[in-house]
Amino acid sequence: MSDLEFETRLDRLFAEPPYFEDAEGFARKVESRLERGWSIRRLFIGAAGVVAGLFGASQLMGAGIFLKAAGVEASEQASMAGKVWHQVVSASSNMGALPVSPEVLWMTAALGVTALGFAITRATQEF
C-alpha cells in the first residue's frame, strides 16, 4: 500500500465516528448545560432590567412627572373635553421644566414599550 493510499485510508478511518451507546445521554447533558447557562443569563438580564426599571422610575419620581400628571388627571374630571386637551397640552409644555426634553421622554417611553414587546415575544417563545 502506498503512502498516499494509506493516508487516505487513515483519513477515512478517522472520519468514521465510533458508536457510543450513550450518545443520546451525552447530547442531553450538553443540552442541559446549555439550558442552565441560558437560565442564568436570563435571570441576569431580568435582574438587570428590574434594576434599570427601578432606576428609571426613581428618576421620573424625582423629576415630579407623576405629580404633574396627577394634577392633570384631577382637573380632567372637572373639565370639559376641550379643556382637558388644553390641560394636557399645557402639561406637555410643562415637561420643559424637566431635566430632559419632552422628545427624549417620549422616545424613552416608546423604547420601553418596544422592549416590553420584545420581552413578551421572547417569553412566549421560551415557555
Binding site: 500500500m1 494509506f6 493516508e7 485510508r9 487513515l10 483519513d11 478511518l13 478517522f14 465516528p17 465510533p18 458508536y19 457510543f20 450518545a23 443520546e24 451525552f26 447530547a27 442531553r28 447533558k29 450538553v30 443540552e31 448545560r33 446549555l34 439550558e35 447557562g37 441560558w38
Partner: protein, 191 residues
C-alpha cells in the same frame, strides 16, 4: 429532549444558522449528529473516557458561544473537532506531560498480531506514544496541518513531523494485518 422533526431534516449549516439566532434545539441536533465523532477523536488523542466526555461537552458549549464564527466554509464536525482538540491540548499541556518523553510500551499491547484478528483504529492508536497519538490525531482526526499542530501543542514543526511519521509507521504495521484478514475473509466467502 427529543429532537423535533423540524430540525432533523436540516443541513448542518442551516442548523448552525438557527443556533446562531439562539435556537438551542437546532444546536442540540448538531450535538446529536457529531457528538460521537468529537468524543471518539478525544479518546483517540489519548484522553480517558470521562475526560474526553467532559472536554467534548466543553467543546460544544464553546462552539455554541462562538457559533456566529462558523460560516459554513468547512464541515461543522471539523470545526468542533478543532475546538475540542485545542481544548484537550490545553489541558494536556497544563498537566505538563508534554515534557515527558514516554515511549509507547509496545510489549504491553502484544507484539505479534494475529492476521485473523481485526484491529481497528482505536486499538492501533494505543500502540503509539502519547506524543505520536496527539500529533497523528491532530493532523488526521482534527484536520490540522503540521504547522497548525505544532503551534497548537507548542512544539517545533520538525518534532511534530517526526512524531507523525513514527506514528504513521506504527499504524501502518498495526492496520496492515487487518486489511490482509479482510481480504482472507473475503476470499473464503467466495469459495
Amino acid at each position: 429532549m427529543a429532537p423535533s422533526r423540524a430540525v432533523t431534516g436540516l443541513h448542518d449549516v442551516e442548523l448552525a444558522a438557527l443556533a446562531a439566532a439562539g435556537d438551542r434545539a437546532a444546536f442540540g441536533e448538531l450535538v446529536r449528529r457529531h457528538g460521537s465523532a468529537v468524543r471518539g477523536l478525544l479518546r483517540r488523542m489519548g484522553a480517558q473516557a470521562s475526560t474526553a466526555d467532559d472536554i467534548a461537552q466543553d467543546a460544544f458549549l464553546t462552539a455554541f458561544e462562538r457559533i456566529a464564527e462558523f460560516r459554513g466554509e468547512g464541515a461543522f464536525a471539523a470545526w468542533v473537532k478543532r475546538i475540542a482538540a485545542r481544548l484537550y491540548v490545553r489541558r494536556w499541556r497544563k498537566d505538563s506531560r508534554m515534557t515527558e518523553e514516554v515511549e509507547a510500551d509496545d510489549e504491553g499491547h502484544g507484539g505479534e498480531i494475529s492476521a485473523a484478528r481485526r484491529i481497528d483504529l482505536d486499538e492501533a492508536m494505543k500502540s503509539l506514544s502519547e506524543q505520536e497519538r496527539l500529533c497523528v490525531s491532530l493532523c488526521y482526526g482534527a484536520g490540522l496541518s503540521h504547522a497548525e499542530a505544532a503551534e497548537t501543542i507548542g512544539a517545533p514543526l520538525g518534532t511534530v513531523k517526526s512524531h507523525v511519521k513514527r506514528g504513521l509507521d506504527k499504524l501502518r504495521l498495526r492496520l496492515a494485518p487487518a486489511e490482509g484478514a479482510g481480504r482472507d475473509a473475503e476470499r473464503q466467502g467466495h469459495v
